[in-house]
Symmetry: C2
Subunit: 200 residues, 2 copies
């Protein structure tokens, strides 16, 4: 039996993405967002949503650039801290000791220690409400050698990304591989119906 | 050491979301997307990206409505099938035996068997490239009783959502809870530096 629980921003899973920018004087900053995802395959684009009140908001608009840094569970506490305080008040790279690297492709820094990063040129901004969505074209992805297979495909088991569960406001790890995509044939269901095991 | 692996649509994790619509003659259809996520808290909104070539694309534009259905791992093969074939050629509800329920809030159906669904009114469409992004305002969420705690908050352990890993094109489950969000204090890192255990 389904219960109506009202209009809320809930979805499972949401990613844990650390967004890095340079501020007005070129100081690197990092903030964490869970409102985001891939939004186009060609050109490859990613979207993130930020409140106007955040320190990063104006820097993305001004520099038309940001990086997405995927923490891996080893750096979950860093990501959590980045999402808990504002760069207006604290130098988050100084506090954590993480290493900002200036991208050669976009006017933004990335985090050297994180296993995978996306360098993005902002191509759209959409005012939705409390949040503004920025769409960034992914100009390059850089990943640690140790996270790539022999064909340079990133392996999720080695990146060990984390996910965020809104509602209960908690982080979770990645579980086991369940299946290869695009592997289910129509016959799977037809057989069930024929056998009288129709799902409902 | 970081390797440049080029401009690609890769991010971890991405969600597995089944998008339901009515077609031109009111037949319910379901397709699966991994390009999407929450994009605003107030009003609560979710974004999904579809190629123009999909059967659902025009129905979302025409009816300004869609639902997002979170499969849970029990229905992973259904979600995979929904993402593998087009509603132009097959009646996917008939094939799978799943039950379409007409939303009373938006002009779209949802899947009765799935543990959690979002009813969305399309408020923006953004042409990005191969994909068009639709932003839907979430008018209501409905979840199975059995997935809610005593305060009607959905529990991810009971929903058992799945995630998609692009690149290797595989589905994964949800792992263990790692931490509560917003729990990391600045002092955690200060102590490390003082103790000479600076991260890099």
């Amino acid at each position: 039996m389904k219960q109506s629980i009202g209009a809320q921003p809930l979805l499972y899973p949401t990613p844990v993405l650390v967004v890095c920018t340079f501020d007005g004087v070129g100081k690197p900053n990092a903030m964490t967002v869970a409102w985001g995802g891939i939004c186009c395959s060609k050109p490859p684009c990613v979207s993130i949503s930020l409140r106007k009140a955040t320190y990063s908001y104006h820097h993305i608009l001004e520099r038309k650039a940001f990086t997405i840094n995927i923490p891996g569970d080893k750096y979950l506490s860093h990501a959590d801290y980045f999402g808990s305080v504002s760069g207006k008040n604290e130098d988050k790279f100084l506090t954590t000791g993480l290493t900002p690297v200036k991208s050669t492709l976009v006017d933004a820094p990335y985090i050297d220690e994180f296993p995978m990063i996306l360098e993005c040129h902002m191509i759209h901004s959409i005012e939705i409400g409390l949040h503004t969505q920025f769409i960034g074209e992914i100009l390059d992805i850089k990943a640690d050698d140790s996270c790539l297979d022999s064909e340079q495909v990133p392996l999720i088991e080695r990146i060990r990304p984390v996910l965020y569960a809104p509602g209960v406001r908690a982080y979770y790890g990645i579980g086991n591989k369940l299946a290869d995509a695009y592997s289910t044939k129509k016959e799977k269901f037809t057989e069930k119906v024929v056998e009288g095991k129709h799902l409902k």
